[in-house]
């Protein structure tokens, strides 16, 4: 359970990122956050694992405030939260396996990880994670030899190996073609359903949001302007979130 209580964020230069956000996201939900560019989607997502600090309010994860956490405590909170980025953020020169194992690093002592020694169960966990996203055979290939979609699946595997209970995905498909987009979204959805991992995804394709989300949250200028089931998010609602009629390029347009 993730709770936002009166959360506001003002950047150092005075830009308002979030304005009095109040939200409760239950375990196992698949939430898609939509909004115009600059609406605050990334800011919202990144405040959950404290890649950004908030200026006001409090964020609770399973009843524990992460706003005050620091050092070891913060790292343990982060360990339970997998993050997926638009540009995958894999270490390109390392193998797929290394990249997936880097999700395990937070579980071990500094000394052990500096030596690069991972216990056997970690290796098995990493393999299972790769199997779940169907790229087990790429385990010992260098990450930069993979296509964009494959790289994104590796980053999902990294979150799985991390044994994350929450997955945050910031525009996970924005640099992928329509076909790969569906594969990656399918993976995320399947993991959400099979493992019950709470999933929060920022998306800018309206049809994708409707298709995959169980709940849609609309942001405008740092405020929540819509929060409801995907079915309720009609074109009319989107037009309100965006403050203008929806455009054609906001639809992925390829049916499943």
């Amino acid at each position: 359970m993730i709770e936002f209580k009166h959360v506001s964020k003002v950047y150092a230069n005075g830009t308002v990122g979030l304005k009095n956000i109040n939200l409760a996201i239950g375990a196992g939900e698949f939430v898609v956050i939509v909004g115009l560019s600059g609406a605050g989607k990334s800011t919202l997502l990144r405040s959950i694992n404290r890649l950004h600090d908030i200026s006001e309010g409090e964020i609770l994860i399973n009843g524990k405030s992460i706003t005050a956490a620091s050092g070891q405590e913060l790292r343990h909170v982060r360990r339970d939260i997998g993050m997926i980025f638009q540009n995958f953020n894999l270490v390109k020169r390392s193998t797929v396996m290394r990249n997936v194992l880097s999700g395990r690093v937070g579980y071990h002592s500094t000394f052990r990880t500096l030596l690069g020694l991972f216990p056997k169960p970690d290796l098995e966990l990493a393999m299972q994670a790769l199997e779940r996203v169907n790229i087990k055979e790429k385990a010992y290939v260098r990450a930069d030899q993979l296509s964009g979609g494959q790289q994104q699946r590796v980053s999902i595997a990294r979150a799985l190996a991390q044994e994350a209970k929450i997955i945050l995905a910031d525009e996970p498909v924005a640099s992928l073609d329509p076909l790969t987009t569906r594969q990656v979204m399918d993976d995320l959805k399947r993991i959400n359903q099979e493992l019950g991992i709470t999933t929060i995804v920022n998306l800018h394709f309206i049809d994708l949001a409707r298709e995959y989300a169980s709940r849609i949250i609309g942001l405008r200028a740092g405020e929540v302007v819509f929060d409801g089931p995907a079915k309720a998010a009609t074109d009319q609602v989107f037009a309100e979130i965006y403050g203008r009629p929806i455009k054609k390029d906001e639809l992925l347009g390829v049916e499943a």
Partner: protein, 272 residues
């Protein structure tokens, strides 16, 4: 679309702009300052073509006397040559060991505190600004004559050069990879190990090998101040006016440097 017919080109537009003193006052005054600096430097350093021309016979004399090189001393040069290579190897290794913590501390994105960052930068600047020969003089005074002060001198000065390179390489590591590790709950050391290290590795190997090559060349002159290596032989032969032996020493240095450069290039090619 640019409508060409609308643009009027006047004769003024075609005149080179830099020629106009009023418009380019800044450029002209910079040129003037530069000219003054050059003029002054040439006067102070006593650069003179006649002196060079007058010196030609002396140089001729020197070259004549180096010929033929006295190859009989080759066997005597063996030990100092090996020592030179050893000084370069150990000096470079020492430099790498010192430069790693300094480079991390001097990388803006990895330095733990601003004070650490500034201190490391300052140390690196100081080490770089002071040449290996000056360090060699200091260490010869401190630990006595021989190759050991040479190793220290190369190690300390090169640490400054390498640390600067490391810091730059670390700062160029893409932020995304660091963030991914951070988001997974890693600490600073783990980020260094899993996000930074793999990305800087090729550059790390390259600059270290370049430094080794450089240090070999530097080690050939350390002997001039008594810090070991073949430079000592170079100096003695010249002091005794045995220029045919000097020539042999120079040939040996040339051969050693060439061989080491070759080996280093091969290693670089294999690693990258």
């Amino acid at each position: 679309m640019l409508d060409v017919s609308q643009q009027r080109i006047t004769v003024d537009d075609l005149k080179p702009k830099w020629f106009d003193f009023r418009k380019n006052g800044k450029m002209w005054s910079s040129l003037l300052i530069l000219a003054v600096i050059y003029g002054w430097s040439i006067r102070e350093t006593g650069i003179s073509l006649p002196a060079l021309v007058e010196g030609i016979p002396h140089m001729q004399d020197f070259l004549m006397r180096t010929f033929p090189p006295d190859l009989s001393i080759l066997s005597k040069l063996m030990a100092p040559t090996i020592e030179t290579i050893q000084i370069a190897l150990l000096g470079t290794t020492l430099a790498v060991i010192l430069a790693i913590p300094l480079g991390i501390g001097a990388a803006r994105n990895m330095s733990p505190y601003p004070l650490v960052y500034r201190t490391c930068r300052m140390i690196l600047n100081f080490l770089r600004a002071t040449s290996e020969l000056i360090f060699a003089l200091i260490f010869v005074a401190a630990v006595g004559l021989g190759p050991f002060p040479g190793v220290l001198a190369l190690g300390i000065h090169s640490a400054g050069m390498l640390g600067k390179f490391y810091a730059e390489a670390i700062e160029n590591v893409s932020k995304g990879e660091i963030e991914a590790l951070e988001a997974a709950g890693s600490n600073k050391w783990q980020i260094l190990r899993y996000a930074v290290w793999p990305q800087v590795l090729p550059e790390f190997v390259t600059v270290n090998l370049y430094r080794w090559e450089h240090n070999l060349r530097a080690a050939t002159v350390l002997g001039l101040v008594g810090a070991g290596g073949i430079g000592f032989e170079l100096m003695t032969t010249m002091r005794l006016f045995k220029y045919d032996e000097t020539a042999t020493v120079l040939l040996v240095i040339l051969a050693t440097v060439t061989v080491i450069d070759f080996i280093s290039t091969r290693i670089r090619m294999r690693v990258l």
